[in-house]
């Protein structure tokens, strides 16, 4: 038999559940108050995330370097202190150099295709509880970034801008399970759809029954109308496996993405594609094998005695 206390708590639970369902219904019906609550939170979090990135990234590396210290002589302490300062400086410089290198790479890519871009630093990532693969950038609508703009890194596509505030923006990464992009096989006109799978492998579905794909083919973004959400020509990935099942209407396969989405520090948001479709200009060059030197030895005729 239920007590009065348990009845009361059951009533409280049911009323809170109904309230949650009411909130969900409001959100699904597009009540802007709820979506502005999230963007308001992003505006509050962005400066803290920026600060945390600045402090956390060099300090995280710095702590791993400190473990070997422990002697007590004053001189050694002083020298070690100087040494640590220099080490942290070196770590900081390495960090900056790595970011500069990424920036140079992404600017090279954007320059080749004549994309008008704005560069940004990654200040945070989406958490486990969100089940969506996202990153947060330190620039927003003040820098011209708008929803549905393409985001690229030095080696290719990263994702698409999902939402912006004045000083930050959230990017849906291309490995998110809800991510879809129309792709084209470089050098051909065969088209397909690439789907995010949550990891570094992507699923590819070709559109036409006559499309031929093979392992090693490079896939490029096909582009969208008005260049939103995707500008054309951005390298997406390389085909790693092709399914050959009898009776299949169209070819399917798996793709390895060009960009390592777990180690992004600097990316660029494409504001516009000035020169239109760059075609296959951005296809990454296959590594050239090192030339092998072959020496032919021709034996000289031995003097016959």
């Amino acid at each position: 038999m239920a007590t009065r206390g348990s009845n009361r708590s059951r009533l409280l639970w049911v009323s809170l559940l109904v309230t949650s369902l009411f909130i969900i219904t409001l959100d699904l019906r597009g009540v802007s108050l709820l979506s502005s609550l999230r963007s308001g939170t992003q505006s509050v979090l962005a400066p803290v995330e920026r600060l945390a990135t600045r402090v956390f990234s060099p300090v995280g590396d710095f702590f791993s370097e400190v473990g070997n210290l422990g002697r007590s002589s004053e001189k050694i302490d002083k020298l070690e202190e100087e040494n640590q300062e220099l080490k942290s400086q070196v770590i900081f410089n390495e960090n900056t150099l790595a970011q500069l290198e990424s920036l140079k790479g992404v600017l090279d890519l954007a320059g080749k295709a004549r994309y008008k871009t704005v560069s940004a630093r990654v200040i945070s990532k989406g958490g486990t509880g969100t089940f969506s693969e996202t990153i947060v950038l330190d620039i927003g609508s003040d820098s011209g970034v708008r929803r549905d703009m393409t985001v690229i890194a030095a080696s290719g596509l990263v994702g698409v801008v999902k939402s912006t505030t004045a000083s930050s923006s959230i990017v849906l990464l291309m490995n998110d399970p809800s991510f879809r992009i129309g792709v084209r096989v470089a050098g051909k006109q065969d088209m397909g759809i690439l789907l995010g799978q949550g990891d570094k492998n992507y699923s590819l579905q070709m559109l036409s029954a006559t499309s031929a794909i093979s392992v090693g083919d490079v896939l490029l973004a096909r582009g969208s109308s008005g260049d939103k959400p995707f500008v054309p020509g951005v390298p997406v990935g390389r085909v790693s496996y092709v399914e050959n099942t009898v009776g299949q209407l169209t070819k399917e396969g798996r793709v390895n993405g060009f960009v390592d989405l777990n180690s992004l520090s600097v990316v660029s948001v494409v504001l516009s594609a000035v020169a239109g479709d760059p075609g296959d200009a951005l296809v990454p060059q296959a590594p050239r094998p090192a030339p092998t030197v072959t020496v032919f030895v021709t034996p000289s005729p031995s003097p016959q005695g």
């Binding site: 206390g5 639970w13 969900i24 709820l34 999230r38 989406g126 958490g127 509880g129 089940f131």
Partner: protein, 172 residues
């Protein structure tokens, strides 16, 4: 829940949300990720009385729904955490000893947070959300369980201590 406990609970979960969003989310965990917020919540709620657990679940869910990187409808985490808090404080708590050992709390935190993630996915799928491949979901949930177990010496004592701080003199 007594009204004078409410500001303290709100402050604790807001601070935790800030830590999760600005620091923990920046760490590259080897396998999937770790939700300190979720596991801390489970370790908290298992200690709580039924009424206050349900209110805490509702508040914690509302805060988690504020996450800007979340793609699910607003209120989904509120629904999940309110349900979980009732389940834990009435059904699970009744089956456990009055004095909770750290091992019991660890098991509850790991299993309940995995169950909450699965429930979130299920409700999300019913509402038309993309949930991803089975391997991705398995990796995400088991990765969170692994880190929840490994990092439990850090957050379980914290959850126990902070829970006691919020209690009124009469409740202690």
């Amino acid at each position: 829940m007594e009204i004078n406990r409410l500001p303290k609970v709100l402050l604790i979960f807001l601070s935790l949300f800030l830590i999760q969003e600005t620091l923990i989310n920046q760490i590259n965990f080897l396998v999937a990720g770790f939700s300190l917020y979720l596991t801390f919540f489970m370790a908290w709620v298992i200690q709580d009385q039924r009424n206050s657990a349900v209110v805490t679940g509702f508040i914690a869910g509302l805060i988690l729904d504020l996450s800007p990187t979340l793609d699910a409808p607003f209120g989904l985490w509120t629904l999940v955490l309110t349900s979980m808090s009732y389940l834990l404080s009435s059904n699970v708590r009744a089956a456990l000893d009055a004095e909770l050992s750290p091992l019991v709390m660890l098991s509850v935190a790991v299993l309940a947070s995995s169950f909450a993630l699965a429930l979130f996915l299920l409700f999300g799928a019913i509402l038309g959300q993309e949930v991803g491949s089975a391997s991705y979901l398995f990796r995400s949930i088991s990765g969170n369980a692994l880190w929840s177990a490994l990092l439990s010496p850090l957050y379980i004592p914290l959850a126990m201590k902070l829970y006691k701080v919020t209690l009124t003199a009469r409740q202690r």
